[in-house]
């Protein structure tokens, strides 16, 4: 199979987009973990679930700001949703950027309501207690399940957005990129929740253990998808673009992947601060996105 040839120009998607990919992934992943903790976990996991919903919304807040700032005409951000030519809706299911804009809006609603419910439960917004009550039980399960679907979409569609192009690396790794970003978002979110859980006394110690176990599963999934990404890029003949100077970022990614296992296996947690592994994991999530975004455009 001859290598793919690319004659494209780079879109100059840089720091704002990197920030969006990172925070969007954390927002979507945290929401999914919050739902799992609330409905599949132990009742003692509830405080961690609340942290997850709060973290999800806080991570989501800057996302539309980053995206708007990246536009050449920021005041036309609404053109993503409304067709300025005819006033109708701008929605193209075959354009991930169009679908993603809508998904971000809808997920924002779910994340906001879940945040309000969680904030009421921790005592920040006592007036919103009815929301918190409504999010319990069957209705809450349905709400969180739909929100999780959108959250997972936000976590992964960014990879599909890159793949649906003609850029080297991005379009070459089309099969793996969406899944890789999603798995990375889940592992990063688990790491963030661990980080937050360890700073709060009301989170059960067993919850942290369960989060660590989930994190290790997500990391394995992420590693498999990174391997698949490298294989697809290798087949396309563009693997040299993600190597070279990008090896530094790959080392950060590898450190982030290895940290949860290394800490557990070699009992390094006794010598290292307990936040070391989650921070390394989060840096790995950022590094993975950075090297994918920048390597294709240089």
């Amino acid at each position: 199979m001859p290598p793919a040839e690319h004659f494209v120009a780079p879109p100059q998607w840089e720091w704002w987009i990197l920030a969006y990919f990172f925070f969007g992934g954390i927002a979507g992943g945290s929401y999914a973990l919050g739902t799992l903790l609330r409905f599949a976990g132990d009742p003692r996991d509830e405080s961690a679930a609340r942290i997850a919903f709060i973290a999800s919304f806080i991570a989501l807040i800057p996302c539309p700001i980053f995206l708007t700032l990246d536009l050449g005409q920021p005041l036309r951000f609404w053109h993503m949703l409304v067709d300025a030519s005819d006033g109708g809706l701008a929605f193209k299911y075959w354009s991930p950027m169009s679908v993603g804009s809508w998904a971000l809006l809808v997920f924002g609603l779910f994340s906001l309501v879940s945040f309000v419910g969680a904030a009421a439960e921790v005592g920040w917004l006592r007036a919103a207690s009815p929301v918190a009550r409504a999010l319990r039980g069957g209705a809450g399960l349905v709400w969180n399940a739909i929100g999780t679907a959108f959250g997972l979409f936000i976590g992964g569609y960014t990879g599909v957005l890159l793949a649906v192009s003609n850029q080297p690396v991005w379009s070459d790794g089309g099969l793996a990129l969406g899944g890789m970003f999603l798995a990375s978002a889940l592992s990063g979110s688990a790491a963030l929740l661990l980080l937050l859980a360890r700073s709060r006394r009301d989170v059960d110690a067993d919850t942290a253990v369960r989060l660590e176990a989930a994190d290790r599963y997500f990391v394995i999934l992420e590693a498999v998808l990174i391997a698949l990404f490298l294989v697809t890029v290798g087949i396309a003949g563009t693997i040299d673009r993600v190597l070279g100077i990008w090896l530094v970022l790959w080392l950060v990614v590898l450190a982030g992947l290895a940290a949860p296992f290394a800490m557990a296996r070699w009992d390094m947690a006794r010598r290292w601060p307990p936040v070391a592994a989650p921070i390394l994991a989060l840096l790995g999530v950022l590094a993975l996105r950075a090297l994918v975004i920048f390597s294709a455009q240089t």
Binding site: A32, Q73, H79, A90, S95, M97, S98, V160, A214, F218
Partner: protein
Amino acid sequence: MAFQENRALGFFTDTSICIGCKACEVACKEWNQLEGNAPKFTADSFDNTGQLDAQNWRHVQFIEQIPDNSGMVVTPTPIAGGQAWLMMSDVCKHCKNASCLEVCPTNAIVRTEFDTVFIQKDVCNGCRNCISACPDGVIGFNEQQGVAQKCTLCYDRLQGGLTPACAKACPTESIKFGYVDELHTVADSRLAALQKQGYAKAQLYGRDAKVYGGLNAFFLLMDKPEVYKLPNADNAMLPSRNNLPGYIGGVATAVVGLVAGLLAFRNGRMNGNNANNSTNAH
């Protein structure tokens, strides 16, 4: 004379008679009021334009293929006549299946009544998704205006029944403008003439549907498309080819991720219950 609507207009660029004068670049900039980039030395033959972008909607490529006569007296190459030093005035291809139009989330990129691909400057919000999609690197980002820009095929001139500026200025008629179906006939006869003269590599690019369903701005090339930095038929793919595999990969990962999460949290719940039960038993 007004042009017929709903009948495709386009360019046939015959590179075999391009002399690299860059009159097309100048005429394009003049008509479209493009300031151009600051001049730079590209160290690439006679090219100081560099590439197509927001300021260069026509770009004359100079491709030197002079045989290496190192250590020998340089003798005129027997394959002269447009093959040793290729020149080509590159431009937006106005593809029938346009990658840029496909991905544009705001519908700023539209197909006109003349079947050309046009960026509505007042609708574009500068997301640059079209730049990531265009396989030919045609579209550029105008930093001053904050929008994506490319050749309009002189849409304003077409509306007035005028020939696009570049074709009007081309002194050798390397750039031919007209109805695409008529240009096809011209191109076919020109190719046949060149092949009759022994130019075996001469070929039409974008004349048929193999490349993006056909190009409204198509070319007669004197070598393979990739020599001119054009994707060949094997590499001419629409961005949407990655939609299905990308989403399938994402959904599969989501399912595996959710199962993994369920396993981690359920196991914990069971272990927690077991621990509680054993505590109660004692």
